[in-house]
């Protein structure tokens, strides 16, 4: 009988774990709930947090990670991202006016690296959340643009159909272009607006279906692509769709719902699901479990009042034989009366907190009964919060979980 691996969480870590475990021959069930960080993210895939003072080392390490065959296989199967691009290190533009490195990114993002020294047009449309002329100025004044002699020019594009489109949420505006007619009109408008530029940089508007961008590009005369998405934009939505397609291809069983409890039973694991909309609580048995439940931003860890208004602290929102840690210290055993203070730890504590694990992603501090329980991605304490970091951890734990 093949091993049954239950992956909790369908962010990039959970998806990678499911991919690896399925490829290793396990029967895989993914349980997930609302959108996590992967579904809300920018579209850039980093290994370590990039820095405004970034040294070449960070990029080099990321580049090396991308040569990992399994990571490449996973991202290729997911089919939503571009790895490296044509130049060795990808360069992207953010929605906040910054040009920055990103060794891999959502396919829809414009890779600036091959455009070094060329003329990039920034589509100037009348959206309230888009100031093309100032953005172009900011991109043009970036160290990269100055170093490579790349220019950014705002070019007016008549794209909006109604005044209403000026203010709808970015996600909804992107979704309009999934309509093939609207997508084609976008390409035509760009072609008409400036026939002689080398590339078009647009906002995160190129559809929430992963294939929309290819259709638009096929019609456009020059390369075109997006900036990053701010929180909850098109890039995250495209990740979710690509992921769902991957699960179908892998034959992974997907359950929508919250896990309420993960407990060891004999030599295996039992998971209880919170009652679904029909009121039916579910139960799942597994030979191994991967917790890829994300961090505070995903709701995988909560910051809560423990007694009504008395103790504030971090908690896992489900029962599991693991402990939380912050900055190397376990949070299980109390601490100060009021829990860790964000005032002294800094808001950054919200990103450093997680499940205490060893280097292999095994939860620490418990006994052998825990064999077969793994943790990956943002759920792990103290790990950099990045897409590639989470994907690599997911692949590793999926493999071991399937291997037994």
């Amino acid at each position: 009988m093949s091993r049954r691996v239950v992956v909790v969480g369908a962010g990039i870590a959970g998806s990678a774990a499911a991919f690896a475990a399925a490829r290793a021959g396990a029967e895989v069930v993914v349980v997930h709930d609302r959108a996590g960080a992967s579904a809300l993210c920018s579209g850039a895939l980093d290994l370590e947090a990039w820095d405004t003072d970034a040294s070449g080392e960070v990029a080099a390490r990321a580049q090396r990670a991308l040569t990992d065959a399994e990571l490449a296989a996973f991202l290729t199967a997911l089919g939503a991202h571009r790895l490296g691009g044509t130049a060795p290190n990808g360069v992207i533009a953010t929605a906040s006016g910054v040009v920055r490195p990103a060794c891999a990114a959502d396919r829809a993002l414009l890779d600036l690296a091959p455009l070094a020294g060329r003329r990039v047009a920034v589509a100037d449309i009348e959206r309230d959340d888009w100031d093309a002329s100032l953005l172009a100025k900011a991109f043009g004044a970036s160290a990269w643009a100055e170093h490579t002699g790349t220019t950014f020019t705002p070019v007016f594009v008549r794209l909006l159909r109604t005044g209403y489109e000026r203010r709808i949420a970015p996600y909804d505006f992107a979704e309009l272009h999934d309509d093939p007619a609207r997508g084609a009109a976008l390409a035509d408008a760009l072609n008409a607006a400036a026939p002689d530029v080398d590339a078009w940089l647009v906002g995160p508007w190129l559809g929430i279906q992963p294939d929309t961008v290819a259709a638009i590009r096929a019609r456009a005369r020059v390369p075109l692509g997006e900036t990053t998405s701010l929180l909850a934009g098109a890039a995250g939505a495209r990740f979710e769709r690509a992921r769902d397609r991957l699960f179908t291809e892998l034959g992974v069983e997907v359950r929508r719902g919250r896990v309420g409890r993960v407990a060891a039973r004999d030599a295996s694991w039992a998971l209880e699901l919170a009652p679904d909309s029909d009121g039916a609580p579910g139960e799942l048995a597994a030979s191994a479990v991967v917790l890829a439940t994300g961090g505070v931003g995903a709701g995988g860890i909560v910051f809560t009042w423990r007694l009504p208004g008395v103790v504030r602290g971090f908690e896992l929102p489900f029962a599991a034989p693991v402990t939380l840690a912050l900055d190397g210290e376990s949070l299980g055993g109390g601490g100060s009366l009021y829990g860790p203070s964000l005032e002294t730890k800094g808001l950054g504590a919200l990103e450093r907190v997680g499940i205490a694990c060893d280097a292999l992603g095994r939860p620490v501090g418990k006994n052998a009964a825990q064999m077969g329980l793994f943790v990956a991605g943002d759920a792990v304490a103290g790990r950099p919060r990045t897409m590639l970091g989470a994907a690599l951890a997911g692949l590793a734990s999926g493999n071991v979980a399937a291997g037994g």
């Binding site: 820095d51 006016g97 920055r100 959206r127 701010l230």
Partner: protein, 582 residues
């Protein structure tokens, strides 16, 4: 409240012998008292230069509870103060009608027994009967005594068991807008106002006379001197430090600094501003304001850094615990920000912070061998106009300018005419809430912001969706209201103070400010960093369960978009501290 002894006239003549000074009056400090004096003096035809170290309203004036109260606390001890407070509240309404909003208060009475509650209610009732006599001076409504059942209907979120209560009426104001309005009017009457320019030394002349200041511009690093016939120290809690810049003795301009904090909650929880007592018996309140609620305030002796006043977890808890007793669902509300300020209370040894007088005094430092220098100590937002008038009377007498004060009748910028926000909706294509907020902040000058939008419809873009704030308004504050950083824009418009914490607007606002002040886009991004780091630091102590998720997402989003803050702190911004991010 006693005014100053005037300096001997000979001192003035001595100065005159040394060459004509640049201006008549230098005012140090751009709080409500400093801008108030600058305006009053400029209206009387004096030549004024004002220096503000950070931004207008950076200190207590932009961080107060903003109540233009009629002074009920003096009713039993000193009813004359109540009378003059109510009268002045009426004046402020006349000169800046757009900036005032009515705050109906509710003081519920719980009481251990019916009898006790009845006794308390009777006292309240009698007290407010007297206060009601002064209410017409400020267009206030008379108080109403309510039964427990009525209170439960009016304020359904209140803990059960209120045996009764009273309502009474006060007015509120946006203190930062008040300072800006005074400064703009002073400028329009010929004053110079230098923001982000700190006074680094008081220049002394013959016989110790203070004859001007040395200053340093904190953004571009330049420095210089400016001379004046008279110098006014209106630096609030900084007053003793400022006096020391001229070598005056430590106790020459002493105040008892009292820190107070407020918390913004993400929604309107109550219909009334609900009063209750904290664990130590102090009165605190939970007040609805626009689409949010404000929880305040504390009062503690403070000897920390005045340039960096931040709410602590202890203070946040103290307020939450106090209000939770009468309003339990406060635990479900989301704290989206805090602000803190330091009251420049007149110095007195001994009394408990709360019993300290909130009154004011003009100190003539001739008494300390420094003629030509005056300090304005103490005071309240509510009495700023009166205090400024008293100070300017002294200046005018000293400079022999027999022009009477007009600040109680001359409207502040925007206060001359009422504008119907619907007009802005129709003419500018704004949404109603955008128009209402714009009109609140700018009064009739909202029409000037509207003009910008009509000239360039793209400026109608709402760039801060939480508040909401349009690009035209941001540009207006830079062009006409001395905003030089993202923090300054935020202080004037509330940009970036909503649930998203500036994530969606700070970078863009920084680009606009940088462009308009001829700085590079990179400096614009640094302005955004400065704002975001400061705002994160102000929120940290108050973050609760629901806000935590938003904060974590915001941190990730900002890291993706603009990277971690540069490891080198920028010397030219106010907010150089980045640890809140880590």
């Amino acid at each position: 409240m006693e005014a100053a002894v005037t300096a001997p006239p000979s001192a003035r003549d001595a100065l005159e012998a040394g060459g004509a000074p640049d201006v008549d009056v230098i005012v140090i400090g751009g709080g409500v008292n400093g801008t108030g004096v600058a305006r009053d003096a400029a209206l009387r035809g004096l030549k004024v230069a004002l220096f503000e170290r950070h931004d207008l309203a950076f200190g207590a004036s932009g961080n107060s509870s903003g109540m233009i109260h009629g002074g009920p606390r003096y009713l039993t001890t000193d009813p004359d103060v109540t009378y003059s407070s109510c009268l002045d509240s009426g004046h402020i309404q006349r000169i800046a009608p757009h900036l005032l909003f009515r705050i109906p208060f509710l003081a519920p009475v719980f009481g251990a027994t019916e009898l006790l509650a009845e006794a308390t209610l009777a006292t309240y009732d009698a007290f407010f009967d007297v206060y009601d006599r002064y209410q017409p001076l400020k267009r206030g409504k008379p108080h109403v005594r309510l039964t427990g059942a009525e209170i439960a209907t009016l304020e359904p979120g209140l803990a059960p068991g209120a045996r009764g209560g009273v309502t009474f009426d006060e007015w509120g104001i946006d203190g930062a807008r008040l300072c800006v309005a005074n400064a703009v009017d002073a400028i329009e009457h010929g004053a110079e106002v230098h923001v982000h320019t700190t006074v680094t030394e008081l220049l002394r002349g013959d016989a110790g006379r203070v004859r001007g200041v040395r200053f340093r511009h904190r953004i571009d690093g330049t420095s210089g001197t400016r001379t004046a016939r008279l110098v006014v120290n209106a630096t609030g809690a900084w007053s003793p430090i400022t006096a020391a810049l001229g070598g005056l003795p430590n106790d020459a301009a002493r105040v008892r600094p009292g820190k107070g904090i407020h918390i913004f909650l993400d929604r309107r929880l109550t219909n009334y501003a609900v009063m209750t007592n904290a664990i130590d018996g102090r009165q605190v309140f939970l007040m609805p304001w626009q689409n949010v609620s404000v929880l305040g305030t504390t009062d503690d002796d403070y000897y920390g850094d005045l340039d960096r006043v931040v709410a602590t977890g202890d203070e946040v808890r103290y307020l939450f615990e106090a209000v939770a007793r009468v309003f339990p669902s406060i635990w479900q509300a989301r704290a989206i920000g805090t602000w803190g300020g330091v009251r420049p209370t007149l110095y007195e040894w001994g009394p408990n912070e709360d019993e300290l007088s909130r009154e004011h005094a003009v100190v003539d430092h001739a008494a300390h061998g420094a003629p030509g220098l005056y300090s304005m100590l103490g005071g309240k937002l509510a009495s700023y106009r009166q205090f400024a008038e008293e100070m300017t009377d002294v200046l005018a007498r000293e400079l022999r300018v027999p022009v009477p004060c007009r600040t109680h009748i001359a409207p502040l910028p925007g206060g001359d005419e009422v504008v119907d926000p619907m007009k802005l909706v129709v003419a500018g294509g704004m949404e109603a809430v955008t128009a209402t907020r714009l009109e609140y902040r700018h009064g009739s000058r909202s029409l000037r912001v509207l003009e910008r939008m009509q000239r360039d419809p793209r400026e109608g873009a709402v760039i801060c969706p939480c508040e909401p704030v349009t690009e035209a308004e941001v540009r207006y504050t830079v062009a006409h209201e001395l905003a030089r950083t993202v923090d300054d824009v935020s202080r004037r418009t509330r940009l970036g103070l909503g649930v998203c914490g500036g994530m969606r607007c700070a970078a863009r606002c920084g680009r606009i400010v940088a462009e308009m002040t001829e700085r590079s886009p990179r400096e614009g991004l640094q302005l955004a960093h400065g704002f975001l780091a400061g705002a994160a630091r102000r929120r940290a102590a108050a973050v609760g369960p629901d806000q935590a998720r938003q904060e974590a997402l915001g941190l990730a989003a900002l890291r993706a978009e603009i990277g971690r803050p540069p490891s080198r702190p920028e010397p030219d911004t106010d907010e150089t501290e980045h640890e809140a991010w880590r």
